[in-house]
Symmetry: C2
Subunit: 352 residues, 2 copies
């Protein structure tokens, strides 16, 4: 089998590029004394997570219990779930995970503390960090008082270990929050050994942005069109491309490829839907401008005389690579242009 | 187990609503002499496809070979792939399918005809319809000449049976195209027994739009927020809701639920992203206005004093239900409020 004979659409991961990306981020973390804790949401592959740890990462980050379970099954033994777990069902699963891996979770509410405490009743200590908001307006407390109150609640719970603070993404507001929160915690005698920030686009500026000591990044392993647009990667740094086939040429200025939102996801660029849904490496002037579930419509009006024909295979860099991993049961891998095999996306679809 | 104890996020299908939707569309098709050929892309469940056939559907429609394979595994034996299949790998799989089900495919290029002909060389007749464009600007020939040329090419191929014409969606342009194409085909002695149109939002106006005799519809079985916005369904007709849990209340006007694009997909309403990503049944004034992969941010500013609390469960009608089916390994089913069980989404992720 070679890559050109694989049935399409198929996501293809260039392992050489992925390894270069991993090594670069690890070198940055090492140079600045940051504990690298890669987020597996991008690749969802235990094999790549193990590789990240082998290169120096201090454990991994997951967003959902189901991802953490898949990673523990794959031998990962130090897992941070950077997401609020709420309720009895989550507590039981967290307890089961804690019996086979070092677990840390994020909280931003008393109910989150209660869930972690319930898990810890099964006998394993659960590490807890308090999430604060650095302007992303997602989860995370918005004020220092709330963070200190939650830290106090964690410290008061037997079985929980207060590990520190986390945020996403790392911004100047992170520094401002920490400058206010750390003296307040110290005044209460509460240590915060872990100060965890994240986000791939701004990762290499972490040391000049805020005094965090842990770096959570996911997208950097593959990169994507959004990373390129943010100036954080070049097209040559994009490790995952979707290989597609032109299946229709109904008009001179239109080609249709065999992949739509079911393969690319529907994520649009920060600049808007008019920026299209991917970068076509063979025809950079073409615009993949409309997707339905299984159709990808390309506007060829800016192309020259050479235009894609029915049956032609193309490689597309997706806008946002993380949901692409989530949409495919397996990825093909390639090294130096040679097909290596298929790898099951073990943590795909782990919404629970 | 009852529905309220299921771990979230979980898609829940109300079987009573789905059956009412199926019966209504079958009655419409029967009343207007249309052969109903439901598109399984919405539910991706062989069990519901069998139910559609039992109610009177003349076979089913799939978009991909992988979906057709899953449906053939589930006992469906008359399958139309309304999508251009191109190349050797697809031809071999089509031939294997034709050995166990009556198969029809759509073509809009000579390469499509060649792929079907190659499949037919294995000994089973393949039905072929020519796809034309009714203004959707996706696949499908844009002119009558091209359609007639392709029909001629199909007729000339041993092993292929020219079945007629198809389009998506059915529009006034469909009628105009057919008015020109059918006499041209007749003049060449080519019969076109199947005239296939589709699209759920406008399905119940098919008889007054164009003289098609086959109706391909998918979304009608579940309905969704887009169908409601189009006036083609009421909220009470929406059979699939995503059940989620509030996991964070960082500000008085913001709640965060445990489902983002990985559970809802990122499809935006025709009116734009500002219309949000779903209708929250318990808090219709709330706006599910931002999604990241695992976070759903709700703007509560229009809500009254009663607001969702951390741990509260909510039911959300998604914008577009088809990709929701594709994102979940299984759905929970309910009838008259009682949990029935889980059903594997057998044709999920069938991108090939």
């Amino acid at each position: 089998l070679d890559i050109a004979s694989l049935d399409t659409p198929v996501p293809v991961v260039d392992l050489g590029i992925a390894e270069r990306n991993m090594a670069r981020m690890q070198a940055y973390a090492d140079a600045h004394g940051l504990a690298l804790r890669p987020h597996v949401k991008t690749h969802k592959l235990p094999g790549l997570a193990r590789r990240q740890v082998a290169l120096g990462a201090r454990g991994i980050t997951c967003q959902k219990l189901g991802e953490a379970e898949a990673m523990a099954d794959g031998g990962l033994d130090d897992i941070f779930i950077s997401y609020p777990l709420i309720g009895e069902a989550k507590a039981e699963r967290l307890a089961a995970l804690a019996a086979r891996a070092t677990m840390r979770v994020a909280v931003d509410s008393p109910q989150g503390v209660a869930t972690a405490a319930r898990a810890a009743r099964h006998g394993r200590t659960i590490g807890v960090v308090v999430e604060f908001d650095s302007g992303g307006r997602r989860t995370g407390v918005t004020g220092v008082e709330a963070a200190v109150a939650l830290a106090r609640a964690v410290v008061a719970q037997p079985g929980l270990r207060f590990d520190g603070l986390m945020t996403y993404p790392t911004t100047p507001a992170t520094a401002a929050f920490l400058a206010e929160a750390l003296p307040r915690l110290a005044a209460e005698g509460i240590e915060a050994p872990v100060l965890s920030g994240g986000g791939s686009p701004q990762a290499l500026r972490t040391h000049e942005t805020a005094p965090v000591n842990e770096l959570r990044v996911g997208t950097y392993v593959y990169n994507d069109r959004m990373m390129v647009a943010a100036g954080a990667a070049a097209l040559e740094d994009c490790a995952l491309t979707l290989h597609v086939t032109v299946v229709s040429r109904p008009e001179p200025d239109r080609a249709v490829v065999d992949a739509g939102t079911k393969s690319f996801a529907a994520d649009i660029m920060p600049g808007g839907a008019e920026l299209g849904y991917g970068h076509v490496l063979e025809y950079p002037e073409a615009r993949l401008d409309r997707l339905s579930e299984e159709h990808g419509m390309m506007d060829l009006s800016a192309c020259g005389a050479r235009r894609p024909e029915v049956g032609e295979r193309l490689r597309v860099v997706p806008n946002h690579v993380c949901p692409v991993s989530n949409l495919h049961d397996r990825v093909a891998t390639v090294r130096d242009g040679a097909f290596q095999g298929f790898v099951d996306v073990a943590a795909r679809g782990r919404t629970l």
